[in-house]
Each structure stands twice: as structure tokens, then as C-alpha cells.
């Protein structure tokens, strides 16, 4: 909870500072926003260890292979990064860039899913005796 309060406080202060600075130096406002985002993400990442440990435990429990879990994790990771970078681009007034990031994210997500598809196809081929 304390950590989340830190994150929320950091976000509010960064937001207010950006609001004050934006009319004079928009570049500085953008950089400030980027820096705050990085800090918040770093703070949040420190909580990822227990989550990852739980996921590891569940993976062992269910007997899932990395071939199944890796695309899932990567897809969610790509989704998070795309969301943040797209929002930053929009903040900077670059809507086209934001859309390009989204499309890039979609293509990359499909790309990380390809091993799943090829593994599934090879199993089906094996099962159907092809």
C-alpha cells in the first residue's frame, strides 16, 4: 500500500509539474512525463518478483511448458509497453506515431504467438498421421 501511495504521489506531482511547465517549455514537460513514467514502472517492477514466483509455481503445478507460457507473458508485456508508449506519443501530440506503435504492437504480438501456432500444427499433423 505504501509503495502504491508513493506511485500515486509521484504521478500527481509529475502531472502538476507537467501542467505548469507545458505552456513555457513543452519539451521539458514531455521529458518530465517520460521520466515519471520510467520511475513508476521501476517501482512497480519491484513487485513483480512475487507475482513471477506465483506464476512459476502455477506453471510447475499445471505442467505447462515454456512454449505455452512464454507467448502469453510476452503478449501481455507487449500490450503494456504499447499502451504506455502510445499514450506518451499522444501526449506529445503525435497521434500518427501512437497508431504506428499500436500497429507495431499488434504485429509483434502475432509474431510471438507464431511458435504456439506452429507447435499446435505440428502436434495436429503428428496426431492425424500427416
Amino acid at each position: 500500500m505504501d509503495e502504491f501511495l508513493k506511485i500515486a504521489g509521484l504521478a500527481i506531482i509529475a502531472g502538476l509539474l507537467c501542467m505548469v511547465v507545458r505552456p513555457y517549455t513543452p519539451i521539458l514537460s514531455g521529458l518530465l512525463s517520460l521520466g515519471a513514467c520510467t520511475l513508476i514502472l521501476l517501482l512497480a517492477v519491484s513487485f513483480m518478483t512475487p507475482v513471477l514466483e506465483l506464476l512459476q509455481l502455477l506453471r510447475e503445478m499445471t505442467g505447462m511448458t515454456r512454449a505455452v507460457t512464454a507467448p502469453l507473458y510476452k503478449s501481455v508485456g507487449i500490450g503494456i509497453l504499447t499502451q504506455i508508449s502510445g499514450a506518451i506519443c499522444e501526449d506529445a501530440g503525435e497521434k500518427t506515431l501512437s497508431k504506428a506503435v499500436e500497429i507495431g504492437g499488434t504485429i509483434l504480438s502475432i509474431y510471438v504467438t507464431l511458435p504456439l501456432l506452429s507447435a499446435l500444427l505440428s502436434i495436429l499433423q503428428e496426431a492425424l498421421g500427416g
Binding site: L55, L58, M61, T62, G63, M64, A67, V68, T69, P71, L72, Y73, S75, V76, G79, I80, T82, Q83, E102, G105, T106, S109, I110, V112, T113, L116, L117, A119, L120, I123, L124, A127
Partner: protein, 359 residues
């Protein structure tokens, strides 16, 4: 003096066929045990088609033996349940992050991950269903003639013939329909469900539902026709047999002078001993069918319930994958229904043989 000799002769006649061993070999009941698979033979080691036993006690015993494997099956079911929920949760997270995206990659990834994890299980469960049906078919190919012979000897020749013909005909039809049509339809059903989830437009939903409906209706239709035929022909031929038996007994006791009554009584005892053997073979058959079906039923049932529960919980999360998980559970339900239909055909035929006219 002549009466005493005839009475002694009748007594010898009465004693010799009651020995179950002799009749057992005649009807081919010994082959019943050999037609069981190795593990089933182990389960059925305490029972023999030649010796009558308490069927309820036998069922309890087989259940106890089957429950020893229950732990592993439940463990597998729990692992599948956790996996399905985990993927659905991840997918929901992905969907929330990608809500502005034009193509829903999260549901594609989730559906593929579930397919990859479940495809081996699904394939092995479909094979388990096929294997159980084959095993039942092999066993009933020996059981039905044995039961029919025993029933015919006990005085229900017409009824035994009718039931035998119906059982063989419908068992073959069911096996053929399942292998050539219904099992491939399940693969198509699952592929449609996967495509439907990936496209996310529910366009293939109707086609998928139609396939599911076809499978259900084919099974229901086949079983209804079988039950209908069995009821009508069984009742008709049963009446014919009962009447023929009564007439024959009456004719023997009335027409044959002096010893007519004795021969008539002796024939009744012979018929009763055949009926007793028929009952013991029938009980063995019912128990063997039960033991063949128990473990596959438990495995498929646990998988079916796991998928059903996961589908219900994922629909609470409003995930697009809930439809796919539901389709998997429906496919499991169809396999369960096919196997159960095969068991129903064997069991109902067996029970009909047991209920044939008794002297």
C-alpha cells in the same frame, strides 16, 4: 419295474446337465474372460461366468478398484482447471490492454495456448472413447452369442434371436457411425470453436452449434430406435416363447403316456438350470461391461466437469475465451455420450437376455 427304470433314467438326465462346467463350455462362456483386456481381467479375477454371484457386491468391488486410480485423474483435472483459469485471466489482462487494437491478439494467443495445452489431452480422450467402444464391441461379440445361446436353451429361442440380431446390428451401426462420422465431427467442432474465438465475431457459432446438435440427435435417434425395436420385438417374441413353452410342456405331459409328466418336469428342471447359468453369465457380462466403462467414464467425466467449471468461471470474467472453453467441455460431453451409448446398447441387451422368458 419299468416305471422305476424310467425314473432312474430321468434322474440321471436331471443331474448331468446341471453341472455348470459342461454347459459353460458348450455356450463358450470361458472365452468371455479371455476377451477382456489384461487390466480388466485382473479386476474381474474374483468372478467367473460359470459361478453366480451377488451383482451389487461385484459392482461395489469394481468401484473400489476403480477409485484407486481416482487420485491421479483428479490431479490431472485440477491441473487443467488451474491452467485454463490462468490463461483466461492473462487473456483478460491482454484484452484490457489491447482494447483499442483493431485485431484481438490476446484472444488468439489465449485460444492457441489452450489448444496447445489441451490438444494432447483431447486427442487422448477421443482415443480413450474409441478404445472403450472397441473393447466393448470385442467383448460383446462374445457375450451376446453366449447369452443368446443360454437364453435359447432356457426356452426363449425367439426372443434370444431377436435381441441378439438387434444388439449386433445396432452396436455395429453405432461403432461405424462414431468412427466415420461423429469423432471427425468433434475435431471439426473444436476447429470451428477455435476459429470463432480468434475471429471474435461469433459468425461460426451457428455452424458449430449445428454440428453439436447433429451429434446429439444422431445418438438420441439411434438409441431411441434401438429401444423401440427392443421393446416391441422383445414383448412380441417373449409372448410367443412363453406360449410355445407352455404348449410344449402341456403336450409332453398330456401326449406321452405314463412318463409324460416326469419328462415334462425333467425338462422344466433342465430349463431352470440353463436359466441359472444364463443369469450367472449375464451378471458376469454386466459387471465386465461396468468395469470396462468405469475408468474411461471417470476420466472423461472429470475432464468434462473441469472444462465446464472453467467455462462458467471464465464467463464471469467476461472473457472471449469462455466460449472456447465451453466448446471443449461440450466436445467432452459428446465423447462421453458416445461411450455411454455403446455401454447402454450392451447393458440393455444383456438385461433383456436376462429378462427373457423363464420356465
Amino acid at each position: 419295474m419299468r416305471r422305476i427304470w424310467v425314473a432312474l433314467f430321468a434322474l440321471v438326465l436331471l443331474c448331468s446337465p446341471i453341472c455348470a462346467q459342461g454347459l459353460d463350455e458348450d455356450f463358450g462362456a470361458a472365452a468371455l474372460e479371455q476377451k477382456l483386456s489384461e487390466p480388466m481381467r485382473g479386476w474381474m479375477a474374483d468372478y467367473s461366468p460359470a459361478v453366480s454371484f451377488d451383482l451389487l457386491h461385484g459392482v461395489e468391488d469394481i468401484l473400489e478398484k476403480g477409485l484407486e486410480y481416482g487420485g491421479t485423474v483428479l490431479q490431472d483435472g485440477a491441473a487443467t482447471f488451474v491452467f485454463l483459469l490462468l490463461v483466461v485471466a492473462f487473456c483478460k489482462l491482454g484484452e484490457a490492454l489491447q482494447n483499442t487494437w483493431t485485431f484481438p491478439v490476446a484472444s488468439l494467443t489465449g485460444a492457441l495456448a489452450i489448444s496447445l495445452y489441451c490438444v494432447r489431452d483431447l486427442h487422448s480422450i477421443i482415443n480413450l472413447g474409441k478404445q472403450t467402444m472397441d473393447e466393448l464391441s470385442v467383448f460383446s461379440s462374445v457375450l451376446m452369442p453366449v447369452m443368446a445361446s443360454a437364453a435359447a436353451v432356457s426356452g426363449a429361442a425367439n426372443q434370444a434371436g431377436t435381441i441378439y440380431c438387434l444388439a449386433v446390428l445396432f452396436s455395429n451401426w453405432l461403432l461405424k457411425i462414431c468412427n466415420t462420422l461423429l469423432f471427425p465431427m468433434i475435431y471439426v467442432y473444436l476447429t470451428l470453436a477455435l476459429a470463432d474465438t480468434v475471429l471474435g465475431q461469433a459468425r461460426l457459432k451457428r455452424l458449430k452449434e449445428f454440428l453439436g446438435w447433429c451429434v446429439k440427435m444422431l445418438l438420441k435417434g439411434l438409441l431411441s430406435i434401438f429401444t423401440g425395436f427392443l421393446t416391441i420385438s422383445g414383448a412380441l417374441s417373449g409372448t410367443v416363447d412363453a406360449a410355445a413353452l407352455k404348449t410344449a410342456k402341456f403336450a409332453i405331459s398330456g401326449m406321452v403316456p405314463v412318463v409324460g409328466n416326469i419328462i415334462s418336469n425333467a425338462s422344466s428342471t433342465l430349463l431352470s438350470s440353463a436359466a441359472m447359468l444364463k443369469a450367472s453369465i449375464g451378471s458376469f457380462g454386466v459387471l465386465a461391461i461396468f468395469s470396462i466403462f468405469l475408468l474411461p467414464f471417470f476420466k472423461i467425466g472429470v475432464y468434462y466437469l473441469t472444462a465446464k467449471l472453467s467455462a462458467s468461471l471464465s464467463s464471469l470474467l467476461d472473457s472471449s475465451l469462455s466460449g472456447f472453453v465451453d466448446a471443449i467441455s461440450s466436445a467432452m460431453g459428446m465423447i462421453l455420450a458416445m461411450t455411454a451409448s455403446s455401454v447402454f446398447l450392451c447393458l440393455s441387451s444383456c438385461i433383456c437376455f436376462l429378462r427373457t422368458v423363464n420356465p
